[in-house]
C-alpha cells in the first residue's frame, strides 16, 4: 500500500511566474526508503512542504498515510516526522532541552520512545548539556533526526539531511536510516548527492520541477541506453577539448579522475581509432575502459 501519494502536483511562485513543481506524480510504499534526487532548485523542498501540509499545491492532489494534504492536514501533522533542510532546532536550548521540548510538543516523553532513538542519541548524549547552536554539523543533524523521531512517526520526511555534513557523518546517517526502515517507518529523503541515490530502495530523479525517472537505482542504471567509457590521459583539460571536437564522440562529460564518453558508432574500430587520434595529438598515458554508468551519468543523460 502506498503511504505517500502525489497526483499531478503543480506549485508555482510569484503568481505563476516561477514553476517550482511541474505536474509531479509518484508514490512511496509503506516501509520504503525513497529518495528524491535533484540539484538545488529542482523543487525538492517544495514537494516536501506540500506533503507536510506547509504549502498548498496550485493543483493536483496528494495524501500521506491516506490523509489528504489539504483537507486532513491536522491528522498528517500529528502523525509524520519532518526534518527541514535548514537546521531548525532551538540554538539556545541544550540538546536535552530540545529533545524534551519536542517530545512534549508531540504529547509524548523521551522515555516512551527511547528505544527508537537510542542508537542515535547515545552518540550525542555526551554533549547533552551543550547548546544546540554549538554542535558540529553532523551532531546537529543527529539531534534533529532524534527530535523528528521522538513521537514514533509513521512517515519520516527528511529534506536534504546530509547537506553540509562531512563524509563520515553522512555515511553514519544513511546507516541510521536503514535501521529506521527496519522499524517499519516509511522514509522520504531528498539529496543533491548522486552517490547517495544507490542507498535508497527507489529513487525519483527530479530536475526543474519535473520528474525525469522513477525506479530502483539498479533499474535506472540498466536503462542507460549506450555503452559508457572512461578516458584518462596526462593533460585532462586538453583531453576534454579534443574529445569534444571529435565527431565520433557522442557525449563527453568531465567526472573527476576520468572523462565519461559515449561513441556515435560503438565498435572495436572506433575505440582503436580514438586512441590513435589521441596519441597523434600528443596525449600520454592514455587509458580507455568500459564502465557501468553511475546514477549521475543517468541523470545527465536524462537531462539532455
Amino acid at each position: 500500500m502506498a503511504d505517500v501519494e502525489l497526483h499531478n502536483i503543480v506549485k508555482t511562485y510569484n503568481k505563476g511566474k516561477v514553476k517550482a513543481v511541474n505536474d509531479v506524480s509518484f508514490s512511496v510504499n509503506e516501509g520504503e526508503l525513497f529518495g528524491l534526487i535533484g540539484a538545488d532548485g529542482a523543487g525538492k523542498t517544495s514537494i516536501f512542504r506540500i506533503l507536510t501540509t506547509l504549502l498548498l499545491p496550485d493543483s493536483g492532489n496528494a495524501s500521506v498515510s491516506g490523509f489528504d494534504v489539504i483537507k486532513d492536514y491536522k491528522n498528517i501533522r500529528s502523525s509524520v516526522g519532518y526534518m527541514p533542510g535548514k537546521f531548525s532546532l532551538y540554538q539556545d536550548l541544550s540538546v536535552e532541552e530540545n529533545l524534551n521540548f519536542f517530545a512534549s510538543v508531540f504529547n509524548t516523553s523521551v522515555k516512551e520512545n527511547y528505544d527508537l532513538i537510542k542508537d542515535i542519541y547515545v552518540q550525542i548524549e555526551p554533549f547533552k548539556d551543550r547548546r544546540a547552536g554549538k554542535l558540529s554539523g553532523g551532531m546537529k543533524q543527529k539531534l534533529a533526526l532524534c527530535c523528528a523521531l521522538i513521537h514514533r512517526p509513521k512517515v519520516l520526511f527528511l529534506d536534504e539531511p546530509t547537506t553540509g555534513v562531512d563524509t563520515v557523518s553522512r555515511k553514519e546517517f544513511w546507516e541510521m536510516l536503514k535501521r529506521l526502515k527496519q522499524q517499519g517507518i516509511t522514509i522520504l529523503v531528498s539529496t543533491p548527492y548522486m552517490d547517495e541515490a544507490t542507498l535508497c530502495e527507489r529513487i525519483a530523479l527530479i530536475q526543474n520541477g519535473k520528474i525525469l525517472s522513477i525506479d530502483t537505482p539498479d533499474e535506472i542504471v540498466k536503462q542507460f541506453p549506450e555503452n559508457l567509457f572512461a578516458v584518462k590521459a596526462n593533460d585532462m583539460s586538453k583531453l576534454l577539448n579534443d574529445l569534444r571536437k571529435n565527431n565520433e564522440i557522442k557525449t563527453c562529460n568531465a567526472f573527476g579522475e576520468f572523462h565519461h564518453i559515449t561513441f556515435q558508432n560503438d565498435n572495436e574500430n572506433s575505440h582503436n581509432e580514438l586512441i590513435h587520434i589521441l596519441q597523434k595529438a600528443n596525449h600520454q598515458n592514455i587509458e580507455l575502459k568500459h564502465i557501468t554508468p553511475s546514477i549521475e551519468d543517468c541523470f545527465i543523460k536524462l537531462m539532455n
Binding site: V80, S88, Y90, Q91, L93, V105
Partner: protein
C-alpha cells in the same frame, strides 16, 4: 496543559539566555526614567539672569532676595545701567534681565502701583515664556506678602493656581508617558521579534508540522512578556516614586489592571506585526516606526494634543498609548476611580479585541 507549560518554560529560557534582550528589557525603562527625570526635563533650572536695580530700596532688595532664593534663577551680575543689558545678552548665556526703575518702593507705597521690566531672550520662545512666568510668579508672591501686612485699598490680583501640579513638576507629565512608551515598545517589539525569529530560524516550520495548536504557540509566547512587563511596570513605578517624588494618588491595583490591558493590546499588535514581517529586522523596524514614534508624538506627553491640527488630533485617537496616558494620569495624579476612566478603558478594550481578532484571522497555519 503540560504541553503548554513546557512551551512557556521554553520561552523563558529564550528570554533569560539572550543577554542582550534581557539588558534591553530591563535597562530601557530605567534609562528612560532617569533620562526623562533628570536630563530631559522641561523645568528650567539655574538660568543665568542679570538685574539692573535703579531703586536700591527695601522693596527691590526683598524681591531680589526672593529671586536669588529661587532654584530657577542664578543671578549672574547686578548691572548699574540698562545700557549694559544689551551687551550682557549678546555675550550669550544671559536668559533674562529684570529692571527696577528708581523710586520703586516709593511708587509702590504711595501710588499703590509700581513697574518692573522683564526682558527675556526670546530666541528660544519656550524658555523665554517659562522664565518670565517664573519671574512674574516671584513678583506676584511678593505683592501678596505686602497685602497681608498693609491695609491697602481693595485691588484685584490675578490668582494663578496650578491644578494637580502646583510646583509645575515635569515628572507628573512624563512618567505616565514613559510607562506607555516602555510597555508598548517592550511588548510589541519583543513579541513580534520572537515570533518572527521562529520563522526565520525555521523552527516555526517544525512546530507547524506537529499536533501543537498554533494559537497556543502565540499565547505561550505572550505569557513571559506579559509577566516581564508587569515586573518592568513595578520597576518604573518604584523608581518614579522614590527617585522623582511622583505621587500615586489612586488605586494601585486599578493602575495595574489598566496596564495589563495595555500590555495585551501591545501583545496583539506585536502578533499582527509578526504576521506581516518576514525577518527580525523588519519586525523590529515596523515596531519601532509604528510604535515608538507615534507613541512619542501622539500621546500628548511631549506635545500637547490640543495644539495639533485637526487631522493629527484624529490620528492621536487611534494610538492606544494616548488612551492609556489619560488613564494613568487620572489614576496616579488626580487619584480618580474607575468611574472617571471607563470610557478610555472601553476604547482600549475595543482596540485590543479588534487587534486580537484581526491577528488571529491573519495568522497563517501554513508557510507563506
Amino acid at each position: 496543559m503540560k504541553q503548554f507549560l513546557t512551551f512557556v518554560r521554553k520561552e523563558f529560557y529564550h528570554v533569560f539566555r539572550d543577554k542582550k534582550t534581557l539588558l534591553m528589557l530591563f535597562g530601557l525603562p530605567i534609562v528612560q526614567i532617569v533620562l526623562f527625570g533628570f536630563a530631559l526635563t522641561n523645568e528650567i533650572k539655574n538660568s543665568k539672569i542679570v538685574i539692573c536695580d535703579y531703586a536700591k530700596d527695601e522693596a527691590t532688595q526683598q524681591i531680589i532676595n526672593k529671586i536669588e532664593a529661587s532654584q530657577n534663577f542664578d543671578i549672574q551680575k547686578t548691572l548699574f545701567s540698562h545700557r549694559q543689558i544689551e551687551e550682557a545678552f549678546k555675550a550669550g548665556n544671559i536668559k533674562l534681565a529684570i529692571i527696577f526703575p528708581a523710586n520703586f518702593n516709593n511708587d509702590l507705597s504711595h501710588l499703590h502701583q509700581a513697574q518692573v521690566q522683564i526682558i527675556a531672550d526670546a530666541s528660544d520662545p519656550n524658555t523665554a515664556n517659562t522664565l518670565t512666568n517664573y519671574a512674574t510668579a516671584i513678583i506676584m508672591d511678593y505683592q501678596q506678602e505686602l497685602m497681608k501686612n498693609n491695609v491697602v485699598p481693595f485691588r484685584i490680583v490675578p490668582e494663578i493656581r496650578m491644578l494637580y501640579n502646583p510646583e509645575l513638576k515635569g515628572a507628573t507629565n512624563f512618567v505616565p508617558g514613559v510607562m506607555a512608551l516602555v510597555l508598548m515598545l517592550v511588548c510589541v517589539m519583543m513579541t513580534s521579534v520572537s515570533i518572527v525569529r521562529e520563522k526565520e530560524n525555521g523552527t516555526m516550520e517544525v512546530l507547524l508540522v506537529s499536533p501543537f495548536n498554533p494559537f497556543l504557540v502565540i499565547i505561550a509566547k505572550a505569557i513571559p512578556y506579559l509577566l516581564l512587563s508587569i515586573v518592568n511596570l513595578s520597576v518604573i513605578l518604584i523608581l518614579s516614586v522614590t527617585l522623582l517624588d511622583m505621587p500615586i494618588n489612586g488605586s494601585i491595583s486599578l493602575l495595574f489592571a489598566e496596564s495589563i490591558l495595555l500590555i495585551i493590546t501591545a501583545l496583539s499588535l506585536g502578533l499582527l506585526i509578526s504576521n506581516v514581517a518576514q525577518s527580525q529586522q523588519a519586525a523590529m523596524l515596523i515596531s519601532l516606526m509604528g510604535m515608538l514614534v507615534p507613541t512619542m508624538l501622539f500621546t500628548g506627553f511631549m506635545f500637547p494634543i490640543e495644539n495639533m491640527p485637526v487631522p493629527l488630533q484624529v490620528i492621536c485617537n487611534i494610538i492606544p498609548a494616548k488612551w492609556y496616558y489619560t488613564i494613568v494620569k487620572s489614576i496616579m495624579i488626580k487619584g480618580l476611580g474607575f468611574s472617571a476612566i471607563w470610557k478610555e478603558t472601553l476604547v482600549l478594550f475595543g482596540m485590543t479585541v479588534f487587534l486580537l481578532v484581526v491577528s488571529f484571522k491573519k495568522f497563517k497555519t501554513r508557510l507563506v
